[in-house]
Amino acid sequence: MISVMAVVLCLLTLCTRPILAQDTAAAPTDAIAPPSKLIAKDHDNDAGTAIDLEWTLSPDDQPQRKPRVVVGYQVFRSLADGMERVSLESLTPGTVKFTDRSCKYGAAYLYEVVAVGSGNRDSEPARLAQPVRAVRQWFDASRVWFGVIVLIVCGCVIGFTEIVKAGRGTHVRAIAGLKAIEEAAGRATEMGRPCLFVPGLRDMNEISTVAGINVLSHVARIAAEYDATIEVPTCRSLVMTAARETVQAAYIAAGRPEAFNDDRISYITDEQFAYVAWMTGYMVREKPAACFYMGTFFAESLILAETGNSIGAIQIAGTSQAAQLPFFVAACDYTLIGEELFAASAYLSGEPQQLGSLKGQDAGKALAAALLIAGCLLATETSLLPKTTQFAQALDYLTNSILR
């Protein structure tokens, strides 16, 4: 089928060419000069599915000539044997580059670029002399430096974990909100009221939800030890599944597996505000003594925190959503700001390998600060001494290669 079409196409081209030629012969001044020097290269750092094309503009493609003689370029592609010729893309005048991202790996292609004139007059095509093949790279060389940064950050986390495990440098500063968790669970027990734990609005594909669930495991354990009830409404089925596993494991670890009740960890609805409506209703009716908000929160943060405030609950919040932090800061007793949420589980566990990861994070911040200071000094030098090219080069390498 395709080959028949190709033959028809070829015939059509053969038929139309002479007519065009006659036209141009009749009015030679109207002929459009073709683009030239068409080069094709493999596109770097991909899976072998793209080819870069470059050419020199048609001499008739001049922006100052009005009306414009060349209104664009058209790229054609065929297999090395000339079959399966397809029109790829119409490009605007002045374009000298194009990346064909629809190649099949392993196939050899021929390309043509035609300058398109007004009234559908096309120039002769610029053709490729040799067929070109896309090559597959097994490593994305443009991401080497990024890989190094990933290795440094991960290496620091692992390295410091080992150091702390060996018993050195276990000191970390206190975070007020985390100390308050135990107190809050204790108060709930005294008052005979439940604790509410909200693991946020997002699914298990979000790391802050995972961090929230990790905190839940500690809160649930404290609650189990104090014999306080813990209620975990979720807005994703998968989070409910994970939360049930977590709380059950915490009850087992606290030695009270019989006290675990599945029904307390329930799925409400996926819809943000319906979920919130349920929770505010729950809060004013059941009046939990302690509310924990740990995970990703959006606009509902203030509804939750204000309702919690109006019923006099102790509230501890932690979120990675910078936009919601002001509301938690304004209406909750304690707020874990950004990174502190991810650190919370390590703090609460008190295990050396977890505390080590905190030191690793600190090393990452030190790296960020060092890069930032070095970069700013280079940028300042470049600004002060515009004639000294070494600084500009170093700055360029830092921003465009290392921090690409």
């Binding site: 750092n45 899976a47 072998g48 097994w138 490593f139 994305d140 991401r143 990933v150 950050v153 991960c154 986390v157 692992i158 298990m204 594909n205 790391i207 961090a211 669930i213 990790n214 839940l216 495991s217 994703r236 089925s237 998968l238 599944t241 994970a242 596993e245 977590t246 059950q248 494991a249 087992i252 670890a253 029904d263 329930s266 799925y267 409400i268 609805t269 996926d270 505000f273 919130v276 409506a277 606009a299 203030l302 509804i303 204000e306 910078a322 932090l325 209406a331 700001i337 950004g338 990174e339 991810f342 650190a343 589980s345 390998q353 977890q354 990861s357 690793g360 994070q361 990452g364 960020a368």
Partner: protein
Amino acid sequence: MLKSTFPWLIVAVTGCVMIAAFFVPPLAEWKNEAGAWFEILAAMAFVVGGANLFAQHLKKISARRAGWGYSAVTLFSFVVTLVVGLFKVGVIGEDPNYPWAGHYQAEGSALWWLYQFAYQPLIGTMFALLAFYVASAAFRAFRAKNTEATMLLTAAFIVLLGRTYAGTWLTSAVPDDYSALTFPGMTAIILGVFNTAGQRAIMIGIALGVAATSLKVLLGVDRSYLGSDGD
């Protein structure tokens, strides 16, 4: 072994493949495939959530626990929405040969009605409650108790004024050379310098927190979400 250790192996292997996919172009495709799978998994998880919702409310109704009437309302609206949505009640498809091919939410269908006249006003109004809570929080929580609170308060004050006509009007007498001293000008400085610096530091911190937490997940240091080995 199958209950806790094997799942962790799945975590470690899939996670490492995804990291590798970023650096190895031929693997990049896998990232897309895994994403498509997540989509399907999340869709199937709805059944787990829905079944839980159904069971919880049914239990409450049959035990005649306090507020069981509202549970009945929830259950009723849940089942009605589910039925009209799954059976495309009131949907008129373009092609009469394919009555099931119409859009599930075409104008005039039952699901469309529920969306338009129940879902949307309910959600929208719930969200609008925030306007009231913002006002009460402003009154109660924004007090100049210490330096930090004063900073928060002042910044909020300036931006509030700077983002309305009132701010423009109050400082309209300030000459253009000193535009930084107008409320919109100060708002721009707060946003451009202080807010940008704060946001960037928070973002850098969160990125590190995410990286460390992901790493702990991959290494199996913290796997409470997978439960314990005893079922």
